[in-house]
């Protein structure tokens, strides 16, 4: 059997996303989200290994103006729903790789407490045990997460997730950085 055939067969077993040739499009995501969806920029999220449902849902919410975003909502509007699903499957199939990052040690115990009370139910106590369709947060970039929390706090910024909107009301603005740092620090 020729090696090329081996690769092709292996790939075709990988999943339904194989119906679309998504690789060239997926490679354009690398520019901002890193190869295999592992970001090296602190304000850009890693997306490799996040749940397919989550990735696909968020992209569609942007596409159909159900969720606010500064940049991504414009980008995804040029993609078909099938492409969005295939991209979600592509990045969901990567390995989640928590990124090592420096965070302020001072706020970690405050962060741990706030996470336990407000975030752990859905994301897991260290962000590595999320509910189905919920993103992992262990070793996600703290800077990115702090910015996301600000989106939820800003009433003019439309964020549709009911549970998150509810959880955010329990948090004080002073908790955002410690919570983000706490999850960011869970990269070991």
């Amino acid at each position: 059997m020729r090696k090329g055939t081996v690769a092709a067969v292996l790939f075709c077993l990988a999943g339904p996303a194989a119906a679309i040739d998504i690789e060239p499009l997926a490679r354009t995501c690398n520019n901002c989200h890193g190869v295999d969806g592992v970001s090296v920029g602190t304000t850009m999220p890693s997306i490799g290994g996040l749940p397919k449902d989550y990735l696909s849902r968020v992209m569609k919410e942007w596409k159909y103006d159900k969720r606010a975003a500064a940049t991504m909502n414009r980008i995804v509007k040029g993609l078909s729903d099938d492409e969005i699903d295939a991209l979600a499957a592509h990045f969901a199939a990567r390995r989640w790789r928590p990124v090592a990052q420096k965070v302020a040690a001072a706020g970690l115990s405050k962060g741990r407490a706030a996470v336990r009370d407000n975030c752990a139910d859905c994301h897991g106590a260290t962000g590595n045990d999320p509910d189905i369709g919920t993103p992992r947060l262990d070793g996600q970039w703290a800077d990115y997460m702090a910015l996301e929390l600000e989106k939820y706090r800003d009433p003019e910024f439309v964020m549709p997730h009911r549970k998150m909107n509810k959880a955010i009301r329990q948090l004080e603005a002073g908790d955002f950085r410690p919570v983000s740092d706490y999850f960011g620090a869970q990269h070991k």
Binding site: L10, F11, A18, R27, V40, T71, K151
Partner: protein, 442 residues
């Protein structure tokens, strides 16, 4: 439905563990193909990296003069003092680790018939495909009184990041309160369409922070409009004052903004009818495809830019030579939606060329390319915005996908955009920079 066709294999190349792929090159001593890449900026580095990433059986040689690359994107922040130039710099070790042969040398001749590249050091390299990513060269003669020497010493363009960026930074620092910082913008298309206007904002920010409240930033423009104009004007107005009595003033081409002559001794710019003396004069001369591409006769578009095929970035006039980055022209020209000359675009073009080449060397049909652009401008502390572009290829032509393109909102309904939008995009600009540098060079 699953389709196990040949196209699936090419997808497989990218997702299959390297161990499986490495079987192919091990079987034969000779490489599957030899690709020479000329120019180690964003475009060339990405091309070299992704060739090795998608098919380690391909031998890749990158020829680049410099040993250290300095990113043009976000280099306006170096001029204002917001950013250390070292955060924009990267070497070529990452590419070497991927098996790219990196040569710090200069191309002296290319023979498209024999398919060879000769270098100043006297070496010759044969290629199956040649990727040119030479960037731009400046036409100093287009502005009377300008020369390369004047640019290096007194009237820097700082349109290639490096020593001139630092020279312009020093000039700005030395500029007194009440001084005038002139930016002369050439007729488009030019590298980094929003760059001059972001620079104006960064210079104004520097002046404001350093108590130079009477300073002026005068943009003398050969054009009548510019990239992200409503966003820049909104920010200039709110942050620095714009127009009459403001810190920033823009003179369009129609209003005699085109600089035709300079007097370096008195730091004076002459337009058709007027003269403007500056304390710092930043003349960006018109530019064109880098010499190496132009000398080959590839700059078929107005004798300035290289025309390429939409499906794979191959030159329309020379087989097996691919031109990517600022040197090429593409996109939907008829509707004035050409490819912007940006780093992100160069990366995108590199990936399209590579995908086509990898398919070709493996005897497979080329995948359909997608070209994307994301370009952030940072105009103040926590004030940024962007433009995104999407192009697809249909019937052998580029199609600008308007629905997947456009600038950040200026207003939301009747209200100004919440400030958070600007803050987010200023923050994203840095994340973008880290990731594009890694995508190309790591």
């Amino acid at each position: 439905m699953h389709r196990c066709d040949r196209r699936a294999f090419i997808r497989g190349l990218a997702v299959t563990p390297a161990a499986l792929l490495s079987i192919a090159p091990a079987r034969a001593a000779a490489p599957k193909a030899r690709v020479v890449v000329v120019g180690g900026g964003y475009g060339g580095a990405t091309a070299a990296k992704y060739l090795r990433l998608l098919d380690p059986g391909i031998e890749v040689t990158l020829i680049e003069r410099e040993t250290l690359y300095t990113s043009c994107p976000l280099s306006n922040e170096v001029i204002s003092g917001e950013r250390d130039i070292r955060t924009l710099q990267v070497g070529y070790k990452g590419l070497q680790k991927r098996g790219v042969k990196v040569l710090h040398d200069e191309v002296s001749a290319i023979d498209p018939a024999k398919k060879t590249v000769a270098t100043a050091a006297g070496k010759t390299y044969a290629y199956d495909a040649l990727i040119l990513s030479p960037g731009v060269d400046f036409d100093y003669g287009a502005v009377e009184g300008m020369s390369r020497e004047i640019s290096d010493s007194r009237l820097p363009h700082a349109w290639k990041a490096g020593p001139q960026t630092l020279l312009l930074k020093r000039q700005l620092e030395a500029m007194p309160d009440g001084g005038v910082f002139v930016i002369a913008v050439p007729k488009g298309p030019f590298r980094c369409p929003p760059g001059p206007y972001e620079r104006a904002a960064q210079v104004a920010m520097h002046c404001k922070q350093h108590g130079k409240h009477k300073a002026k930033v005068l943009i003398l423009d050969a054009n009548d409009s510019f990239s992200k104009k409503p966003l820049f004007e909104q920010a200039w107005k709110s942050l620095y004052g714009y127009g009459e009595g403001g810190m920033i003033e823009w003179v369009s081409g129609a209003n005699d903004g085109k600089v035709e002559r300079v007097d370096p001794a008195s730091l004076t710019c002459y337009t058709g009818f007027g003269e403007h003396r500056g304390d710092v004069v930043n003349v960006i001369p018109p530019h064109h495809a880098g010499k190496v591409a132009r000398d080959l006769g590839l700059a078929t578009f107005k004798n300035l830019w290289c025309e390429v095929r939409p499906e794979n970035m191959e030159s329309t006039s020379q087989k097996d030579i691919y031109v990517i980055g600022d040197a090429c022209v593409g996109g939907e020209l008829a509707t004035n939606n050409a490819f912007p000359k940006s780093a992100h675009m160069a990366i995108s073009q590199a990936k399209a060329a590579v995908a086509a080449l990898v398919a070709r060397f493996n005897g497979l049909p080329a995948p359909e390319p997608v070209y994307t652009n994301t370009c952030y401008s940072v105009v103040g502390h926590d004030w940024g915005f962007s433009v995104v572009h999407l192009y697809r290829v249909d019937n052998g032509q580029w199609v600008y996908v308007k629905r997947g393109s456009g600038i950040s909102p200026v207003t939301l309904g009747s209200k100004p955009v919440p400030r958070l939008y600007r803050r987010l995009e200023a923050q994203y600009a840095d994340g973008w920079l880290r990731n594009v540098l890694a995508d190309a060079f790591a």
